[in-house]
C-alpha cells in the first residue's frame, strides 16, 4: 500500500504509475502456479462429468420409478416395500448431489453421499454376481440393460476413482 504522500502525488500527476510491489515471481513458482491451475481445471471437469453422470442416472430412474423398484428387487437383498421406497428416493438424492457438485454447494456432503452410494451399488453388483443372479443393474435405467458384469464393475470403479480424486482435491481447494 502506498503512503499518503504517494497518493497525493498520484492525484496531482495521473500519468504517474502506481509503484508496484517489488515481488519477483520465480520460474519455479510460475510453473507451480500453472500446474496448480491446470489440475484445478482438470478436477473441475472431472467434477462436472461425475455430476452429469449422476444427474443423468437419477433422471432416467426418476422417470420410471416402478422399473427401478423392480431392478432393486431383482438383487433379492431388500424386501419389496423398501425397494419401492428407495426407487422413489435414490434418484432424487443422486440428482441433488449432482447439482451440488456443479454449483459447489454442500460439495463435500454430496461427494460423501455419492461415494457411499457407488460403494453400495458396487457391493450389491458383486454380491449378485456371486449369488449367480443374472440381472440388470438398473444404474442407468434401461440404458444399462445389456451391460455385462465387467462393464458394470468397470464403470463403478471408474466413478469411485473419480469421486476419490475429487475428495482429495477438495481438501486443498476448500469449497463450501
Amino acid at each position: 500500500m502506498g503512503s499518503v504522500g504517494e497518493e497525493e502525488q498520484m492525484k496531482q500527476t495521473p500519468s504517474v504509475q502506481r509503484p508496484t510491489p517489488n515481488l519477483e515471481i520465480s520460474p519455479r513458482g510460475a510453473t507451480s502456479n500453472i500446474k496448480h491451475g491446470t489440475s484445478n481445471i482438470l478436477f473441475r471437469l472431472v467434477g462436472l462429468v461425475i455430476a452429469g453422470v449422476f444427474i443423468y442416472a437419477g433422471a432416467i430412474k426418476a422417470l420410471d420409478p416402478v422399473q427401478f423398484a423392480n431392478d432393486i428387487d431383482n438383487y433379492k437383498i431388500l424386501p419389496w416395500p423398501i425397494s419401492v421406497a428407495l426407487a422413489f428416493y435414490l434418484p432424487w438424492l443422486e440428482i441433488f448431489c449432482g447439482f451440488a457438485l456443479i454449483v459447489r454447494l454442500f460439495y463435500r456432503g454430496a461427494l460423501s453421499i455419492l461415494t457411499a452410494l457407488i460403494l453400495v451399488f458396487t457391493l450389491a453388483t458383486i454380491a449378485a454376481k456371486i449369488r449367480g443372479l443374472d440381472i440388470t443393474c438398473g444404474c442407468f435405467g434401461h440404458a444399462s440393460q445389456n451391460w455385462s458384469f465387467p462393464a458394470h464393475l468397470a464403470t463403478n470403479v471408474a466413478i469411485l476413482a473419480a469421486l476419490l480424486a475429487l475428495w482429495i482435491s477438495s481438501r486443498s481447494a476448500k469449497p463450501l
Binding site: 423398484a69 423392480n70 441433488f96 451440488a100
Partner: protein
C-alpha cells in the same frame, strides 16, 4: 454441534425427500407397496382356467425347462431369445385373447419381466402373471 460435513449430508438427504415423497404420491396407483406385481396384473390358476380357450399361456422359463415340461399349448417366450421368440408368440396372439405368463415359482422374476415387456414393447393389453408360476400350475393340474 455437528460437523459441517454431517450437516451438509443431512441437508442433501432431507432435500431429496420432498420430491421422492411427491413422486410416491403421484405413482400411488401404479405401484403396489405389498407386492412387485400389482394385484390387477396377477391371476391364479383357477381364475385363468375360467377363461378357457381365451387364454394364451406363455412360458417365460429358460429353453431347457420348457423343453422338459410345460403347460399344454404354452408358447415359449423368454428374455434370452426374446427377439427370436416374440414373432412366434405374436403369430398366435389375436385381439381379445388374455395372456398368462408363468415362470418357475412364486419367487422368480422372468414372468414379471416378460409380462412387462409384452405390455410395454408389444403394447398388448390383458397380460397377466400367473401367481405361484409353474409350481402352482403343476399342483392344480397334476
Amino acid at each position: 454441534m455437528r460437523s459441517p460435513l454431517v450437516r451438509q449430508i443431512l441437508i442433501l438427504v432431507a432435500l431429496a425427500l420432498a420430491p421422492g415423497i411427491g413422486q410416491a404420491v403421484y405413482f400411488r396407483h401404479k405401484v403396489s407397496w405389498q407386492s412387485p406385481i400389482p394385484p390387477s396384473e396377477l391371476v391364479t390358476v383357477d381364475q385363468a382356467r375360467v377363461w378357457g380357450k381365451n387364454v394364451i399361456w406363455v412360458d417365460a422359463r429358460p429353453d431347457d425347462e420348457f423343453a422338459s415340461d410345460h403347460a399344454p399349448g404354452a408358447i415359449s417366450l423368454n428374455e434370452d431369445r426374446w427377439n427370436e421368440l416374440l414373432p412366434q408368440f405374436l403369430a398366435e396372439w389375436s385381439p381379445g385373447k388374455k395372456v398368462v405368463v408363468y415362470c418357475s415359482s412364486l419367487s422368480c422374476n422372468a414372468s414379471r419381466e416378460v409380462a412387462r415387456r409384452l405390455r410395454k414393447e408389444a403394447k398388448l393389453p390383458d397380460v397377466f402373471v400367473l401367481e405361484g408360476g409353474w409350481e402352482a400350475w403343476v399342483k392344480k393340474n397334476r
